[in-house]
Symmetry: C2
């Protein structure tokens, strides 16, 4: 009996966070290749395009077993299927959005999520002017209705696009209703039970770290505004 770990959903070792975050990037690139009619790709080509080493790519794949046979490049189509299988459940994952300001509306209308295996099932806000609006076939309801929907449909995933001041209490609402993962856009460090997955998306932090990189790239003295000593 050799090592037959070709079951994608049950890797034996803990997968590094860095690897997990690269898997969707592999997937997107492969989908783009497929759209161009490309059937096969070797680790070197794919890695070059993503500006990583081929070694790293094969190492990442290796956590989940084997994806081809030595001497042969990867077949694009089954590789896509395999990655999709690793990343998402076979049936769509239901999600709700709390906070239908501009960011919430953008998330509600972002079509890509649907293609990636996520299904929008609820939108919530406290602003009466926003309640009743319809996005992609889903009507914005009062935030008070959130727990009922989450319980009734066993919604596993919540997107949190409320103001920072409300984020913790709305997160608590989600957790109490049984949500299993929160995608948080509020710039605040939420306190959640250990069994709820939290993924922070701090857009302001993102633009600030970009700003830092631009600043350092400008020059060794930090740019033209260097106040004379």
């Amino acid at each position: 009996m050799a090592s037959d770990q070709n079951t994608a959903s049950a890797p034996r070792v803990r997968i590094p966070e860095a690897t997990i975050q690269r898997l969707p990037v592999y997937l997107f690139r492969l989908q783009a290749l497929q759209a161009h009619g490309i059937k096969k790709v070797c680790s070197r080509e794919l890695a070059d395009e993503l500006k990583i080493s081929s070694s790293r790519l094969r190492h990442d794949f290796h956590y989940f077993g084997s994806f081809s046979r030595p001497g042969h490049p990867y077949d694009v189509e089954p590789l896509i299927a395999r990655l999709r299988d690793i990343l998402v459940l076979s049936e769509p994952i239901d999600f709700i959005i709390a906070g239908m300001g501009n960011l919430g509306q953008a998330m509600a209308t972002y079509a890509q999520f649907e293609q990636d295996g996520f299904r929008l099932v609820g939108l919530f806000d406290i602003n009466p002017k926003i309640m009743g609006l319809n996005f992609r076939g889903v009507t914005v309801q009062d935030l008070e209705m959130l727990p009922d929907l989450v319980r009734a449909r066993h919604v596993p995933l919540g997107v949190l696009t409320v103001p920072a001041s409300a984020a913790q209490s709305v997160a608590d609402l989600m957790v109490d209703a049984g949500i299993r993962g929160i995608w948080n856009f509020a710039p605040i460090n939420l306190k959640l039970p250990a069994n709820v997955v939290l993924h922070d998306e701090f857009l302001s932090a993102s633009i600030m770290s970009l700003s830092y990189k631009m600043k350092t790239m400008l020059g060794s003295n930090g740019g033209r505004r260097d106040s004379g000593a």
Copy 2:
């Protein structure tokens, strides 16, 4: 203690990417503490709140010199000023947005950026129905006008919220006009000159890695089915 040793822009060694991405998070938490009237904070407290080790926090700070004196906790106000100085230039950084779909509109109306030292100076799209709309005092113009504005005002930063199919060509437009950094939301690997800073924000990748984590958590700790309804 005004600005005597604020040589923040000239650290001696290369700063790890991970450290750079934590700096804004420190800043946000400190601003929240300040809003609550808290004047001093020690590395242990601040780190605990952010779920990192105090050692890591002090190590991060140490890249930029000294922030207090042994035996004394950090003063919140000067620490905020110091971090802001490290992360952004003292005067606001001008930025433009290309692609005024839902995500572009959300970025245009996100007030936080202004507080963090960024100034919206241009909005662009190719859709005639969107041109002429006004967001935060800025009118959406034809994409063709982008190079002129970037050149005229020396705009350093561009936000790319166009569809993936258009992303590379619009990025080229920005780069040719002299932009220095691109914040890219299109799920595609842009090819840019080495002197232009690229920061990818792959939202779909984010939700998929969150999905993976939820999936593995369901399998591994299996115990908690549902909190006793």
